[in-house]
């Protein structure tokens, strides 16, 4: 049992993830847990603006007396990340020797895919869990979602992470479970209890360097050539393809006919083809093996 008197300075826990994952719920569990143990808790979060897919973070500080609501860079005792890239984003907040817990789940945001050509590299975090675990002293990277799926409910992934988190804090498992029960739907209490135990036992068995549970594939390299043909006889110059092309690779010529001006930028997304009311645009795709040497969007 956690002894209040043992903690003199506030403990900093930073919980991060993307919108919709449950960062706030996880924070509330921890905050309530600390509160029930008589600590002063300050929770500070940024959410809502992100909608789904954007970053969400929550600072939790607890101790006998807490003044500031936020955790400065390099001062987090624990960084709990529900998503891999968010873990990387907040890594500089972890203090040397702090505990790092991350789900290796990857949620690739639209802005990481600005180059929409097939096979183009994404601007998603390139650090692999193995590299990071090597660098931090207490690092845990796990495929919580995958584990949750084997338990039959992917939504208990956060409870698995709480199980891992519980090993880094000095509260009894029973008190954790009691708090978790207050936040989850009644019919899932049992699964959540299992998930919590799963997280704890995974941590106990985790050897260092920790096994990399899920490694996302590197940027996909699909060997396909796309070719856009425009039947100018059918084109009526409505301008829809020109304005709707996300890559701006079409234009109207002096005869008000659509022409492909940047074939190299064409990603083969088909928006022009689909929205052409006159069926004047046709996108052809073929594997490169058949058309050796031709570049994309010829």
């Amino acid at each position: 049992m956690n002894d209040k008197s043992k903690i003199e300075k506030p403990v900093n826990v930073l919980i991060v993830g993307v919108g919709g994952q449950g960062v706030i719920m996880v924070s509330k569990v921890l905050a309530l847990l600390c509160q029930t143990h008589g600590f002063e808790v300050k929770q500070s979060e940024v959410h809502g603006m992100a909608k789904r897919g954007g970053g969400v973070f929550s600072h939790i500080r607890f101790g006998p007396k807490v003044w500031s609501p936020t955790i400065p860079k390099g001062k987090a005792d624990i960084l709990l990340a529900l998503e891999w890239a968010e873990a990387m984003r907040w890594l500089d907040h972890l203090k040397p020797g702090g505990t790092f817990i991350a789900d290796t789940q990857r949620i690739v945001p639209p802005f990481a895919c600005r180059n929409r050509k097939r096979g183009a590299e994404r601007n998603y975090s390139r650090e692999t869990p193995a590299e990071i675990i090597d660098k931090v002293k207490n690092g845990y990277a796990l495929d919580a979602e995958g584990m949750a799926m084997t338990l039959g409910n992917r939504r208990v992934a956060n409870t698995i992470l709480l199980g891992v988190l519980s090993t880094a804090l000095d509260f009894s498992p029973e008190s954790w479970q009691a708090v978790i029960e207050k936040f989850v739907p009644p019919h899932t209490i049992e699964t959540n209890a299992q998930a919590f135990q799963e997280g704890r036992s995974w941590t106990a068995n985790a050897v260092k360097p920790l096994p990399v549970v899920s490694e996302a594939p590197s940027a996909e390299s699909i060997d396909i050539t796309t070719e856009l043909t425009i039947n100018t006889v059918w084109c009526k110059g409505c301008d829809i393809c020109v304005k709707m092309c996300p890559e701006r690779c079409l234009a109207l010529n002096e005869d008000q006919e659509a022409v492909l001006i940047h074939p190299d930028k064409c990603t083969g997304c088909r928006i022009c083809e689909w929205l052409c009311p006159d069926y004047a645009i046709k996108l052809h795709k073929r594997p490169n093996s058949q058309t050796e040497g031709t570049g994309a969007g010829v």
Binding site: G237, C238, M244, R270, W274, D278, Y279
Partner: protein, 282 residues
């Protein structure tokens, strides 16, 4: 069912190429609706020989002629009546009706509600562009309030029909709505409509850019297509709070997707069962 990906669907296989380019104005949404329809037909692997397209009068009615199938361009407002006879006589044919807002809601309103009630296995595609385009731009039963047309020179003061609610109330066993902006989504909806055993009513939000768009300063073709999801028809479709579909990145002022579905007895089957029972008794 054949899975036809975007890559393997070739619309030209379903067109009467010798008639192209088609006669619709630049930027007309009907072309996109037709693409979605033909894509759905391709995905379902429907033999063109067994596909019958019945269309009425108006811009929408003319579209049927461009499809390489058994096409019937009938009288104004009556395609559902013709299709009822055709489908009853030839249950082996896949019958798709292409109609417009004036064709189906004004002159053909009676046929629409009874087709919904009867629940014969027909897919009815209503291309709604809020105007009588073929006759030069008169007010239609779906024209948004205050909009200008050649017969509402001071702005429209007639309330518009919500065709989907009308169809649902009349008993259509499958009702859906989608905009031409979303061609693949529209294709899926049409496919579901064709697959549905019974009468399916699908409202396709289309654009009349040349007449309606100009008269109301709704922007040129690309702007009109883009605005389909945000600001075009709030008055007609019950305001911002009516959104049933979760599309967080695009505020959606009118309901899209499948709006009603039930598994009522199909009329043709009922008819044939009745006949079989009578023949057995003889």
């Amino acid at each position: 069912m054949n899975e036809i990906s975007a890559d393997s669907f070739d619309i030209n296989e379903y067109l009467r190429l010798e008639l192209f380019p088609h006669f619709l104005c630049p930027g007309c949404g009907h072309g996109m609706a037709m693409r979605a329809m033909l894509w759905a037909v391709a995905e379902l692997g429907i033999d063109k020989d067994n596909l019958a397209i019945v269309s009425g009068i108006g811009c929408s009615g003319r579209m049927g002629a461009y499809v390489d199938a058994n096409t019937f361009h009938v009288t104004h407002g009556r395609p559902l009546a013709f299709a009822t006879g055709l489908k009853l006589a030839r249950p082996d044919l896949t019958v798709i009706v292409i109609t417009g807002d004036g064709d189906s809601l004004a002159i053909g309103g009676n046929h629409l509600i009874h087709a919904c009630r009867r629940n014969l296995d027909i897919t009815c595609l209503m291309l709604n562009n809020e105007i009588y385009g073929m006759t030069g731009g008169q007010v239609s039963p779906t024209t948004t309030l205050t909009r200008f047309t050649t017969t509402t020179p001071y702005g429209n003061y007639e309330p518009a029909f919500d065709a989907c609610r009308l169809a649902e109330a009349a008993g259509a066993s499958f009702v859906g709505r989608e905009a031409t902006l979303q061609v693949p989504t529209l294709k899926n909806l049409i496919r579901e409509g064709i697959e549905h055993k019974g009468f399916s009513f699908l409202e396709v939000i289309s654009d009349c850019t040349e007449i309606y768009g100009r008269k109301n300063a709704l922007g040129n073709s690309p702007e009109m297509v883009l605005s389909q999801k945000s600001k075009m028809r709030p008055e007609s479709y019950g305001g911002l709070m009516s959104n049933k579909v979760d599309q967080p990145f695009r505020p959606n002022p009118f309901q899209t997707g499948v709006l009603a579905r039930n598994e009522r007895q199909e009329y043709g089957e009922l008819c044939r069962r009745h006949i079989a029972a009578k023949q057995q008794a003889e």
